[in-house]
């Protein structure tokens, strides 16, 4: 527990610094009030709006841990949203609607997983196919319109509150905690990491790498479907054109900000969640702090650059040297203290 906390310390510090920075420009940023039915305030807004990216990032973390990438999640959001809206307007009940949407996500993940694990297509290429074609499929379902609905139970998923807390917030937090628990309470986490670091050696040790790979893409599809449901419920309509558009990039960004290497291996869902919060804090903060939202992308570019430098294998030797230097100094200081 302490180790995993230690691992996400840089992310936590970044988030804290960002919040402090935004508060400096917009003092009300951290104020939260209760209006009788729900909590309101910019922070609550951040927590709510980060739901889609956070949900996508949960699945994306697992995919990236296997040295893969899933470009199709934004599109899968649109498909799941379209399926959900179609089902609810066709008179299916809420449970059946949700089940259908989630099934669509799982099917999309199965498709990606098979292309990657069985046919052996590189992940970026394999998921590009669904990324391109999927939006067409979503539009096919909605017949190109924004498919609106008026089911309040369904809308609750997007805009309802429980004990004053926005339901999307609860949903993404619960998903993240459940998945993280599933990974760490069972051996899945270890098996995924082993597969990501060295698929050949893992297979020789008896790990069923093929099934693991398919499973992570299905998990990613499932999470994307959840995100799609939230997005659709929020606007009470499925917009096949714009739902989840470019969110795959934000999700990947959240995962790497969370300290997960694009080269696979050790992963931290908590880190990715903080990554998602960082992205949303920037999005919201820039507007609130009175900056034009145009700065948003430039800041994101800067963030990616910082991560690139941190993760670069060419520079990792230098980082290692720096780290040992600091720890040596620290021990030397401690020894001096002891001596005196």
């Amino acid at each position: 527990m302490r180790r995993s906390l230690q691992r996400i310390t840089p992310q936590l510090l970044t988030l804290a610094a960002l919040v402090a920075l935004v508060t400096l420009f917009f003092p009300n940023f951290i104020s939260i009030s209760y209006d009788g039915t729900r909590f309101v305030g910019p922070i609550v807004d951040v927590l709510k709006r980060s739901a889609p990216v956070a949900l996508l990032a949960v699945g994306m973390t697992l995919v990236i841990a296997t040295r893969g990438i899933d470009l199709s999640v934004g599109t899968v959001m649109a498909i799941a949203g379209a399926v959900a809206a179609y089902a609810i307007t066709s008179g299916f009940g809420l449970p059946a609607t949700l089940a259908l949407a989630l099934l669509a996500g799982l099917a999309a993940g199965l498709w990606n997983g098979c292309l990657v694990a069985l046919i052996g297509i590189q992940p970026i290429v394999a998921t590009l196919i669904l990324m391109t074609a999927g939006r067409g499929i979503a539009q096919l379902i909605t017949e190109g319109r924004i498919l609106t609905f008026s089911n309040n139970d369904f809308a609750f998923i997007g805009s309802g509150t429980v004990y004053g807390i926005p339901f999307p917030t609860i949903l993404w937090l619960a998903t993240a905690i459940l998945v993280a628990a599933l990974m760490r309470r069972t051996a899945l986490g270890l098996l995924i990491e082993a597969t990501g670091i060295n698929r050949a050696a893992s297979a020789l040790a008896g790990v069923n790498a093929t099934v693991i790979l398919i499973a992570v893409y299905m998990a990613s599809g499932f999470c994307a479907a959840l995100a799609g449901i939230v997005a659709t419920a929020d606007i009470r309509g499925a917009d096949a054109n714009n739902a989840g558009l470019w969110l795959e990039l934000d999700a990947i960004l959240a995962v790497v900000i969370g300290g997960n290497s694009l080269l696979g291996g050790r992963f931290s869902i908590a880190g990715a969640m903080i990554g998602a919060l960082i992205i949303q804090t920037i999005n919201t903060g820039i507007v609130l702090a009175g900056f034009p939202s145009e700065y948003n992308l430039v800041i994101k570019a800067g963030l990616v650059l910082v991560i690139l430098v941190m993760q670069s294998p060419n520079l990792s030797a230098d980082w290692f040297y720096l780290k040992t230097l600091i720890s040596e100094q620290r021990t030397a200081r401690a020894e001096r203290k002891e001596a005196s």
Partner: protein, 500 residues
């Protein structure tokens, strides 16, 4: 001398790959460079071709001291290399590969017609009349090899290094290659020939230099050498030396003896001819043979890394499936592969996680091995195998080679397999760890576990094995048992199947 190398040394972190190696190559000579894996052949070649920077020593070409810092520079100086995995681009055409970097140009653009003509002219001396507009990848390895030679000769023209050129050629193709090598020799090229096929060495080479553990052992005229002496140079055995300590066959109790597994007609076309193998309880079987003889391939078929074309495996209860590593593991097999770094360890995972990985995979993802049990397992095997690590949570990649090997061994011991296959378990590890692993093999068989050991270290095989199977030219040729096992006998069997 065309090329003379004096007291060349090269170290990597932790290992001395080359120590004071001397080497000479005359113009118009084919000079074999021999040695088992890790002997230093490829390091020596890489120092010559500029891929590595040497630590000490001198390389003189035509009497001039050279110090190439890149392959391109070495090429320009006159040293061309043809690697085992052909160092040309399969996605370019033959003509593009042959003229790469020196394409004929007209008005600044590559002149395709001149390129074609030039490529054909380059291949002509080799009697190769092929469509130079096809992708290189469309041609067989033998033809690619000749194309690579043509390019290297045209580019460099003084020294030609052939690194395992015949590894994947058939007999006719080897003859074709040798005709070319003889022709180039007659033209005055100095040719270094690296191979583990001794027949070929004797067929084509004028002189032989043997490396072992980073040192030069001997340079001799091929005509003055016989196979047995050559092999003993390579494997480090002096035949005159006295008999060695033998495995104490009586150590295991009688109740631990008896048949365990029977493999029948296991084989795969192009890898190894079908072979039978009976494994007894508590038995240690050795697989001896030179690199590329089919040792590793035999192990891979037994463990299901590749599937066998035919044959079956059975125990006292009947047939068992071993068509994939998972099935083999379920049948109670374990396999510590030859290339530890690539196929064995999961570098970024901790020692503990590496130890429990196979056990966890077998139990399934839902029944996670509890942290206490993990710690207990790690602690037990760190103690039992004397794995030197500051903590069980240290990433295995940071351990030394010997300790990594012990962790891989621990991974399988934790499974308590009935049949453990160890491919070169002592390669690249220091002497102390070496002895411990040998002792360990002795120990684990006391419980009835059978072990199959593949090793180039004959002494090791003699010390631990109840039986030694000799593999040669992708065939299990001889079996030695009990008192018949000696380094002498193994060397003879590897050298001449008839005499054994």
């Amino acid at each position: 001398m065309l090329l003379s190398i004096t007291s060349l040394s090269k170290s990597f972190v932790g290992t001395k790959a080359l120590q004071g190696v001397d080497f000479e190559l005359a113009a118009g000579e084919v000079h074999a460079l021999l040695g088992e894996n890790g002997a230093g052949k490829s390091t020596l070649i890489k120092c010559m071709t500029g891929a590595y920077k040497r630590d000490a020593g001198e390389i003189r070409l035509d009497g001039v001291s050279i110090d190439p810092s890149s392959t391109a520079e070495a090429q320009a100086l006159g040293i061309g290399t043809v690697y085992q995995e052909v160092n040309l681009l399969p996605n370019l055409t033959v003509a593009q590969n042959l003229t790469f970097g020196r394409e004929p140009r007209r008005f600044g653009f590559v002149d395709a017609r001149a390129q074609r003509t030039q490529a054909r002219a380059m291949l002509e001396p080799y009697g190769l009349d092929i469509d130079v507009d096809r992708d290189l990848g469309a041609y067989s390895v033998a033809i690619r090899q000749i194309i690579a030679i043509a390019r290297a000769v045209a580019l460099s023209g003084k020294v030609l290094i052939l690194d395992e050129p015949t590894a994947s050629l058939d007999a006719a193709e080897v003859r074709m290659l040798f005709t070319i090598v003889r022709k180039l020799r007659a033209e005055g090229l100095g040719i270094i020939f690296v191979s583990h096929f001794l027949d070929q060495v004797f067929a084509i080479c004028d002189r032989v230099t043997v490396l072992r553990n980073g040192r030069k052992i001997v340079t001799e005229k091929t005509a003055d050498l016989d196979r047995v002496r050559l092999i003993s140079h390579m494997l480090g055995r002096d035949l005159e030396e006295a008999a060695h300590e033998h495995r104490k066959h009586t150590e295991a109790g009688d109740d631990q003896r008896g048949p365990l597994l029977t493999f029948e007609a296991i084989g795969r076309a192009g890898m190894i001819e079908p072979f039978d193998l009976a494994v007894g309880k508590g038995e240690v079987i050795g697989l001896a043979g030179l690199l590329g003889s089919g040792r590793t391939e035999s192990a891979e078929l037994l463990f299901g890394v590749r599937t066998s074309d035919s044959g079956s495996a059975s125990d006292q209860h009947g047939r068992i499936a071993h068509g994939s590593p998972r099935e083999a593991i379920a049948a109670g097999f374990g396999f510590a592969p030859e290339d530890r770094k690539v196929d064995g360890i999961i570098a970024e995972l901790s020692v503990r996680e590496n130890i429990i990985l196979a056990l966890q995979a077998k139990r399934g993802w839902m029944s996670k091995i509890s942290r206490q049990e993990q710690d207990a397992l790690a602690e037990r095997y760190i103690g039992r195998l004397d794995i030197r690590t500051s903590s069980a949570d240290k990433p295995i990649g940071e351990l030394s080679g010997g300790n990594q090997q012990k962790v891989v061994l621990a991974r399988w011991l934790a499974m308590n397999p009935r049949f453990l296959i160890l491919d070169e378990p002592t390669r690249g590890i220091d002497v102390g760890a070496h002895a411990e692993i040998v002792r360990l093999i002795q120990e684990i068989t006391k419980t009835g576990m059978a072990v199959l050991v593949i090793s180039s270290e004959l002494e090791e095989l003699v010390a631990v094995c109840d039986r030694v199977i000799v593999v040669r030219d992708r065939r299990h040729v001889t079996e030695l048992a009990g008192a018949d096992i000696s380094t002498d006998a193994i060397v003879r069997a590897i050298a001449q199947p008839e005499a054994a």
